[in-house]
């Protein structure tokens, strides 16, 4: 075998190894990601303002809650996962309602009657508003319910939880924001 042929084969082998390395790197990066986690461009940005009618009470305007930590939870009475997280939301509300924290439930694609029944049955005590035309849901880039947004005292979205939220996550988020205030 001539030296030229050996050199050519080495070059070919190096090329194949480089291509395989790139493919493996891409696959490893892709497979290492959780496919259920969708990056939200809203995290870190100002929370879109809204004024929505409350089911039982005066309308709620987000900008008027500036200076408080706001937990915005999108939910619906037909959503089974919303029932899963309800205990965590109630617990967090009871724990922080007198500490500069506001929780707002935003009812999504639901009937007023069904939403009222849900609130009564589950004894929801935080304000619940109706997003009748889903405009607020669109402004928040909603992909389904439940979804929870945590808004800082300065009005910025600091976290978005897709799916049922747990009390530990909420408590830790809120505590860190209250501590930094």
């Amino acid at each position: 075998m001539t030296r030229q042929m050996t050199r050519r084969r080495t070059r070919l082998l190096a090329g194949v190894v480089a291509v395989v390395a790139v493919i493996v790197a891409l696959l490893t990066t892709g497979l290492g990601k959780d496919p259920s986690v969708i990056a939200s461009p809203l995290v870190g940005r100002a929370a879109p303002n809204f004024t929505l009618p409350q089911l039982d009470g005066p309308p709620v305007t987000l900008s008027k809650l500036r200076g408080q930590v706001v937990v915005i939870n999108f939910w619906a009475s037909w959503c089974t996962e919303c029932q899963v997280e309800q205990a965590a939301l109630d617990q967090t509300w009871r724990q922080f309602q007198d500490s500069g924290v506001v929780m707002v439930g935003v009812n999504f694609e639901d009937s007023t009657g069904a939403a009222r029944d849900y609130i009564r049955t589950d004894n929801v005590t935080y304000p619940v508003v109706e997003d009748t035309n889903s405009r607020t849901a669109l402004a928040y880039g909603l992909r389904g319910v439940p979804e929870t947004f945590v808004v800082s005292q300065t009005g910025r979205i600091v976290n978005r939880v897709i799916g049922p939220v747990d009390a530990a996550t909420l408590t830790s988020e809120i505590n860190s924001m209250l501590a930094s205030a």
């Binding site: 990056a39 461009p41 035309n133 849901a137 928040y140 880039g141 992909r143």
Partner: protein, 176 residues
């Protein structure tokens, strides 16, 4: 030319004349369309066009134009409302991207990492062309193997002597 001859001449030339008229009419229509441009799309068509380029966020692989989901319906209404307010298609798309990210677009954007999908095929095509040209040039430059019998074989003195001996022997063996 008499009347019958004129008639024959007219009949013979008729198909060609019809083709000529059809061509002229086609060209004239194309010219008018090119000058006047397409008629402006109605608002419903504009809504449909923008919605067709957006993913329904709560559906799997359906555009906002095709989805029957209430959220998609709301998105179509929002598009119509924004068009009435004077926003351009790009501004409307940018509004949805601001809330949902690039994943709301049916086609990935041309800039950023997603833009790679547009350029990789071109790069692969260019690499293929370069490889093909290189191989072709190498093939054209390579010395051709000579056909058997062409040119004189390079024989050593010993081989030449052996061949001469064999030829002489054959001649001796030849009858007469």
């Amino acid at each position: 030319m008499n009347a019958a001859g004129t008639l024959r001449w007219a009949r013979a030339g008729l198909p060609g004349l019809l083709v000529l008229i059809a061509l002229a009419a086609g060209l004239a229509t194309l010219a008018i369309v090119a000058v006047r441009g397409h008629p402006p799309a109605s608002q419903a068509q504009q809504v449909q066009q923008i919605a067709a380029g957006l993913h329904c966020p709560i559906c799997k692989d359906l555009s906002v134009a095709d989805s029957p989901a209430p959220l998609a319906q709301q998105m179509r209404q929002e598009i119509a409302q924004k068009l009435r307010a004077g926003e351009s298609a790009d501004q409307i798309r940018a509004g949805f991207v601001a809330a949902y990210g690039d994943s709301v677009l049916m086609s990935p954007p041309r800039q950023g990492v997603a833009g790679v999908v547009y350029y990789v095929p071109l790069l692969v095509l260019a690499a293929g062309l370069i490889t093909a040209v290189t191989l072709l040039r190498r093939w054209l430059r390579a010395p051709r193997p000579e056909p058997p019998g062409a040119g004189s074989p390079q024989l050593s003195a010993t081989q030449r002597r052996a061949v001469a001996r064999a030829v002489a022997r054959l001649r001796e063996e030849e009858p007469g």
